[in-house]
Symmetry: C2
Subunit: 375 residues, 2 copies
C-alpha cells in the first residue's frame, strides 16, 4: 500500500494549473503548496508552533546532507526520527543530499555507486549514493523521500547534460529498489537534462516509467536566465503525468511560483523567503522592500497592508528597521515570519483562485502588480 494518496480537486480549463490534495502519513497537503526549508532540522529562527499557527505550513523540507553530518542520522533515529526530534508532526520532505554534496562538499569523486566527498564542517570523509541516501532518509523518517541524483550544473554541454541525466536515471531506479513502495514513505523521482528540451523529456519519460509516487523537476534555479527555466517547464508541462504530484525543486521568487503553477506544478521549495528575510529583504504584492533603507526610519506602516502575519499585525517598518540595523536576533525571526507567511498565503490565494475558476485573472493581476513594484 502506498504512503501517498493523491486527488485533483480542480483544474484550470485553459491551461495546466491545478488544485490538488496529497495525503501523507503525517497529514494532508493542499496544493499548490510552498514548503519552508528547515535545513538543519529547524526552519531558521522559527518554532514548529510558528510554522503551524502563523505561517500555516502543511509540509516542510529538510536536508539529508546537513543532517547526516550533524547531528548524524543515527542520533535522529535514536531520538525517534526527524518529526519527533524537531517537534514537527506534519509531513516532511527530505532531499537526497545530492545537491549539497555538489555545492558544499569538498574533494568530490563520482563513482558508479555514488559520490565520495569531504564534509564542509570538519573535512571528514563520506560516501553518498542511492543506497546510502535511501537508508539515511529512512532513518530520518520523512514522509517524502527524494531520489539521489546529480543536479546538472549550468551551463552544461549537451553531452554533459545527457551523461549526467542518464546517471541520475540509473540512480533513480536503484533508489526505488532500495526503497520499495511502502506505507510509511513515498519516493519522488527527479527529472534532469539541463536546459535541453529533448533530454528533459527523455528523463521525464524514464521517471514516469518508474513506480514513483511523485515527479520532481531538478536542475532549475541554478543560475540560468528565467526564460530558460520557464522554457524548460513549458517543454515538460504537456507531458507530465496527471495522477502524481509535481514538484519543482529550489524555485523561487513569488512570480516564479505563479509561473510554475501555470505550468502544472503543485509543489515548491526555496530558501529565498527565509534567507532574504535574514538579509532584510521582505516580500509584498508590490515587490520587495529593503527594510534597512533610511526611508523606513519612522515609517509606521507594516511591511504589507492587510497582511495577517504576527509581524505585520504588531510591528512597524520603523521597528523592523531598528532591529535589523541593531543586528538583533528578533530581526531575523520577525522578517522570516512575514516572508514565509507571504509565500504560504500566496499559495492559499492561488488555491482559492483555482477553486473559484478564476486562475488566469488571478495570475495576470498578481504578476502585473508584483512586477510593477519590482521595477
Amino acid at each position: 500500500m502506498s504512503s501517498l494518496h493523491f486527488e485533483i480537486l480542480a483544474h484550470d480549463t485553459q491551461g495546466f494549473a491545478r488544485r490538488t490534495r496529497i495525503q501523507l502519513p503525517h497529514g494532508t497537503v493542499e496544493t499548490p503548496v510552498f514548503m519552508p526549508v528547515g535545513t538543519q532540522a529547524t526552519v531558521k529562527s522559527l518554532t514548529p508552533a510558528d510554522l503551524q499557527e502563523d505561517i500555516e505550513a502543511s509540509i516542510i523540507l529538510s536536508n539529508t546532507y546537513h543532517l547526516m553530518l550533524r547531528p548524524g542520522a543515527d542520533v535522529i533515529q535514536t531520538m525517534g526520527g526527524l518529526h519527533r526530534f524537531m517537534g514537527w508532526n506534519r509531513p516532511i520532505l527530505t532531499d537526497s543530499g545530492g545537491f549539497q554534496v555538489w555545492s558544499l562538499g569538498a574533494l568530490r569523486k563520482i563513482e558508479e555507486d555514488g559520490v565520495r566527498f569531504r564534509s564542509h564542517i570538519d573535512g571528514s570523509s563520506w560516501f553518498l549514493g542511492p543506497k546510502e541516501s535511501m537508508q539515511i532518509q529512512q532513518q530520518l523518517g520523512s514522509d517524502i523521500v527524494m531520489a539521489f541524483d546529480e543536479c546538472t550544473p549550468y551551463p552544461a554541454t549537451y553531452e554533459q547534460a545527457r551523461e549526467s541525466m542518464q546517471m541520475s536515471m540509473r540512480w533513480a531506479a536503484q533508489c526505488r529498489e532500495h526503497l520499495p513502495v511502502n506505507d510509511k514513505q513515498a519516493l519522488f523521482g527527479i527529472v534532469q537534462g539541463g536546459m535541453y528540451a529533448d533530454l528533459r523529456r527523455e528523463s521525464l519519460h524514464a521517471i514516469a516509467q518508474m513506480d514513483v509516487e511523485g515527479i520532481a523537476i531538478g536542475g532549475l534555479s541554478v543560475g540560468e536566465p528565467k526564460e530558460e527555466m520557464l522554457a524548460t517547464l513549458d517543454a515538460l508541462a504537456p507531458h507530465l503525468p496527471h495522477n502524481k504530484p509535481r514538484y519543482v525543486m529550489g524555485v523561487g521568487t513569488p512570480d516564479d511560483l505563479i509561473e510554475g503553477i501555470d505550468r502544472g506544478i503543485d509543489m515548491f521549495d526555496c530558501v529565498m523567503p527565509s534567507r532574504n528575510a535574514r538579509n532584510g529583504t521582505l516580500f509584498t504584492d508590490h515587490g520587495k522592500i529593503n527594510i534597512k533603507n533610511l526611508k523606513h526610519q519612522t515609517d509606521d506602516a507594516p511591511i504589507m497592508e492587510g497582511c495577517s502575519c504576527y509581524t505585520c499585525q504588531h510591528f512597524s517598518r520603523a521597528y523592523l528597521r531598528h532591529l535589523y540595523i541593531a543586528k538583533e536576533l528578533l530581526s531575523a525571526r520577525l522578517n522570516t515570519l512575514h516572508n514565509l507567511h507571504y509565500y504560504t498565503h500566496l499559495m492559499q490565494r492561488a488555491r482559492a483562485a483555482l477553486e473559484a475558476h478564476r486562475w488566469a485573472a488571478f495570475r495576470d493581476e498578481f504578476l502585473q502588480t508584483y512586477r510593477q513594484g519590482s521595477h
Copy 2:
C-alpha cells in the same frame, strides 16, 4: 498624583522578605519580581507575546544609553514612545544610561552636569547628565525612570566611593527637579557608596529624604565577592523605607535573587539568564547545565523536569544541543525562553511561599538544592 501605587500584601515575620504589589500606568507588578532585560527595545530573540504568554513577565527593563544612540530618542518619541515602538503594553523600567556610559562609552569626561563621551557604535560625541537622562526617559515614556548616577567601580577607596556617591546624590536631586512627581512616570533614586556600610547608609538616608517613588541599590554585581554584596544588602536592610519598592540593579544568579528577597528586595534585573542562554548555559533547580556537553547528544529529557515553558514542553536536550552546536538561531530563542521562564517562575514560587507564610522553608530548601547541584 503619583504614577505609582504601592501595597505590601504579606511580610515574612522573621525577617525582611515581603510580597508587594506595584501599580504603574501600564499595569500591575506583583513582587518579588524579575525584570527581563530588553537592551535595544527587544529582549533578545523574543517577541512581546513570548514575554507575556510563556514567560509571564509583568515588567521589562530597557536601556537609555543604547536607545539614545540607536534608533535615537527622537525616533522612538515620533513612533509614539517605547511601548508602542516595541509592541509591549505592560510596564517598562528604563535605566538612566549612566551604567553603559561608564562601561561602554569611550573617552569619558566627567563634568559637574554630567558626562561627555563617545558612542561605542560610531565614535560620535554625546553628553549625558541628570537633565538629559530625564528628558530622554520622558521621550521613551517608560513607567519607571531611574535617576542618573555614577556606578562606583569596584574596588574603590573610601574617598573615591564617598565622592562618587555624593555626586550621585546631587544628580539624584537634580533628576527629581527635572522630573517632578507626575501621573505618567515614577522616579527611582539609586543608593551608592561602594562596599562601605556607612557610605551606603548615608546614601540611603539622602535618597529616602527625596520624594522618589522607589529606592534602588546600585553599584552591586560589579565584580565584588558575593559576601561583600550580601554584606552591603545586610547593612541596608533594616533601614530601607517600608512604603516604597526596593530594587537591586543588575543582580543576579537564582540564589542571589533568593538572598536578595531575604534582605527585603522586591525587584531584580539581570542579563544573566538571557546572556547565558545564548552561551548554552541553562538554569534548573539543581544548578546550571551546559547544553553543548556531549552527554546530552541523545538525552531525551527536557532541560528541567516539570518545567512548563514552551521549550521544556516540546524539545529534548538532544535537540537543544544540536541547535547550539549547529549555531542555529532557534538555539538562542529556545534557551532564552527557558531561562527567563525559570527566573520569572522562581519569583512566582517566592511570592507563593511568602503568601503561605513559609518563606524560610522555601528559601532554605531552594538554596540547598540549587547549591548542591552547582558543585
